[in-house]
């Protein structure tokens, strides 16, 4: 049984990475048909760097991802603190609301927001209501639950006396948060923010319903592109992105491993006297 599942695991990992390999190979293809390899070239990469359509779209995606993940992290962390302090019934209700965007299909979230914006657009007589703001609102909305769900467990793990200890030693509640609590829940905040950032960067379905012609993100454009033939420089772009993400993840992994090791081994040896 152990052997069978090992074989399945290996096959699944290959399966997961087949498209990545195809995209990477296609990025070095001379021809523009992804399924026929016509010879090796760096031409697609050159074309990518001279391009003035894709890169601005990528920049748009990054802007939305950064702004929405920052705002949702701040709002979500505050919310998690609040929910953590709530009574049982109020907390259930708040978590129920948090679960709505998670359990609702993305397309329903997208459609409902599109209708909301259209509704308010007509009510307030704004002509082209869809744009950066609507996109940002939508992204913050679907990011918030992820932030809350990664901060809440850290709050639950934290010794509840820590906040009181800080206040006992003279901190105002706000000072206690910045001097103590934030350090404790930082891993949750960071992973929530990262999750929000990647979700937002890659989001297509919801963005597709709430974007406006004035502000288009990369995934939306790729979808619109795929109705006509795709330019292979997109493959080059995504191969580069893949490598960047791979490097970041490996780096994070190494840092984490080293951190964990340090905490286990080195800490007891440090006995130096402070001067």
């Amino acid at each position: 049984m152990r052997k069978v599942s090992k074989i399945i695991t290996v096959i699944i990992f290959i399966f997961l990475y087949i498209p990545m390999i195809i995209l990477a190979v296609a990025s070095f293809n001379k021809g523009s048909d992804i399924s026929v390899f016509n010879g090796f070239t760096f031409g697609q990469y050159k074309a990518l760097f001279e391009d003035n359509v894709l890169l601005p779209l990528l920049l748009n995606s990054v802007i939305v991802a950064i702004v929405s993940s920052l705002l949702s992290t701040a709002l979500g962390t505050a919310a998690a603190m609040g929910i953590h302090r709530m009574g049982r019934r109020a907390r259930r209700l708040a978590m129920g609301v948090t679960n709505i965007p998670l359990t609702n299909p993305e397309i329903v979230t997208g459609v409902s927001l599109a209708l909301l914006f259209a509704f308010f657009g007509t009510m307030l007589k704004i002509k082209n209501v869809l744009g950066f703001v609507t996109l940002l609102i939508a992204h913050i909305t679907f990011n918030l639950p992820y932030v809350i769900l990664s901060v809440m467990p850290k709050l639950r793990q934290m010794d509840p006396n820590l906040t009181e200890a800080a206040m006992d030693l003279g901190c105002t509640p706000i000072k206690a948060f910045f001097k103590v609590v934030i350090h404790e829940i930082m891993p949750g905040i960071i992973s929530g923010a990262l999750m929000a950032f990647t979700m937002s960067l890659d989001d297509f379905v919801i963005s597709y319903f709430v974007y406006g012609p004035t502000f288009v993100t990369l995934p939306v454009e790729i979808y619109n592109y795929t109705k006509k033939p795709l330019h292979p420089k997109i493959y080059a772009l995504f191969t580069l992105l893949f490598i960047v993400i791979l490097l970041v993840m490996v780096l994070m992994n190494v840092l984490q491993a080293r951190d964990a090791k340090q905490r286990r081994e080195i800490a007891p040896l440090r006995k130096k006297v402070r001067q």
């Binding site: 990664s150 820590l162 006992d168 030693l169 003279g170 350090h183």
Partner: protein, 382 residues
């Protein structure tokens, strides 16, 4: 003694309609070591948290030096706390933990350095400045927690079961050490524990609580020797609690037999609870005893034996250094000093019979806190 520092007047506390403190009245003198003692859920921690400012009483007044402080937040009180599981800041090292309060008070770094150094000397952790708190042992964390509070030179130090997580040996050492620190610094300690031995060892004053009500306030000797009711008698040490009738001053009837005693001030023929400590009973041959019974159980305890003796259906615990095998018929003698008379209370009849006694008896009651739950959502970095 010295002047009064803190006074709680008619303090009540209720959560969700459940009464946790019921009209509590208590005063604490300057420089005294006062212990709030009771089983879990008796309201002792709530009382401590009210003094610390972490909770506001539902009704009643908290006075500090005669000034009402109900609405003063914790960070503005000259009171510091040693928390149950230390609550050391995991992101700071030992030095920074101790210096935390001084930095908040914006003292100069030279002043901080000298005060922290002094504190480290007091707690015997010189050389540990740069250690991560997570690398410390339980006893060391305990000392850091105490230092972190004391370095601020508070008027009062609150300690919430500070030794609960330590093993027995370390707990005994720390008891002595805490008492030494308290006397050396002359600070008022308000100490919460459910361990009666701890309370008796360290305190100037012990406050025994149950169900949100103070049962007795007194010196350790008073509490042990003159318990006010069956609850206190049972909670502090081992005791046999027997129903009796006070015939007149200094004469009580037990098991149909008259015994001289030292208590007075009861109505004639008033029913009372009588406490007899297991170590006060003298065992004699059956023919010369005041009462006679059969040994039904014996447990070796090291210094002495715990024996259970059946006196016509009522089982007593008696401590003796001599071996009496199960089944042997023995007599006991009680001197006037060995008999403590208590007024009847709502606790009468609830304690004192050792019918269900077993060697593990001592360990029941001690409820430890559950370890914190550790659910974790997988984040991106995991």
């Amino acid at each position: 003694m010295s002047k009064e520092l803190i006074r709680l007047v008619d303090c009540c506390m209720a959560y969700d309609g459940e009464q946790v403190l019921d009209n509590l009245n208590l005063y604490i003198n300057d420089s005294e070591f006062l212990t709030l003692l009771g089983p879990s859920g008796c309201g002792k921690t709530t009382t401590l948290r009210i003094i610390g400012g972490f909770q506001k009483p539902t009704s009643g007044t908290v006075l500090f030096n005669g000034v009402r402080i109900n609405d003063v937040p914790p960070h503005k009180r000259h009171i510091n706390t040693v928390f149950q599981r230390y609550a050391l800041f995991p992101h700071l090292d030992v030095y920074d933990n101790i210096a935390f309060g001084l930095r908040i008070a914006k003292l100069s770094e030279t002043e901080i350095s000298s005060r922290v150094g002094e504190m480290l000397k007091t707690i015997g952790l010189v050389g540990f400045e740069e250690r991560k708190v997570s690398s410390l042992s339980g006893g060391q964390m305990q000392r850091v927690a105490i230092a972190r509070a004391l370095v601020n030179r508070p008027n009062v130090l609150l300690l919430d079961e500070p030794l609960g997580a330590l093993d027995l040996r370390l707990r005994k050492d720390m008891q002595v050490e805490l008492k030494r620190i308290q006397q050396q610094m002359g600070i008022t300690f308000v100490y919460v524990t459910h361990d009666q031995e701890e309370a008796l060892t360290m305190s100037d004053t012990v406050v025994v609580m149950d169900k949100g009500v103070i049962q007795q306030i007194g010196t350790p000797e008073d509490i042990y020797n003159e318990p006010k009711n069956a609850f206190v008698a049972d909670f502090i040490g081992e005791s046999n609690i027997i129903e009796g009738v006070m015939l007149q001053d200094r004469l009580v009837e037990l098991f149909g037999r008259k015994f001289p005693c030292v208590d007075s001030g009861f109505a004639p023929r008033e029913p009372v609870d009588v406490v007899i400590r297991p170590e006060d009973v003298d065992i004699v041959p059956a023919d010369s005893g005041h009462l006679c019974g059969t040994v039904t159980g014996i447990t070796f305890k090291g210094v002495h034996y715990d024996i259970i003796v059946d006196f016509s259906g009522f089982k007593w615990l008696i401590q003796t250094t001599d071996f009496h095998p199960v089944g042997s018929y023995i007599g006991i003698r009680l001197g006037p000093e060995d008999i403590h008379i208590m007024k009847k209370s709502k606790y009468s009849g609830m304690f004192g019979d050792y019918s269900s006694y077993s060697a593990e008896y001592d360990e029941i009651g001690d409820s430890e806190l559950e370890p914190a739950e550790s659910e974790e959502a997988p984040g991106y970095e995991e």
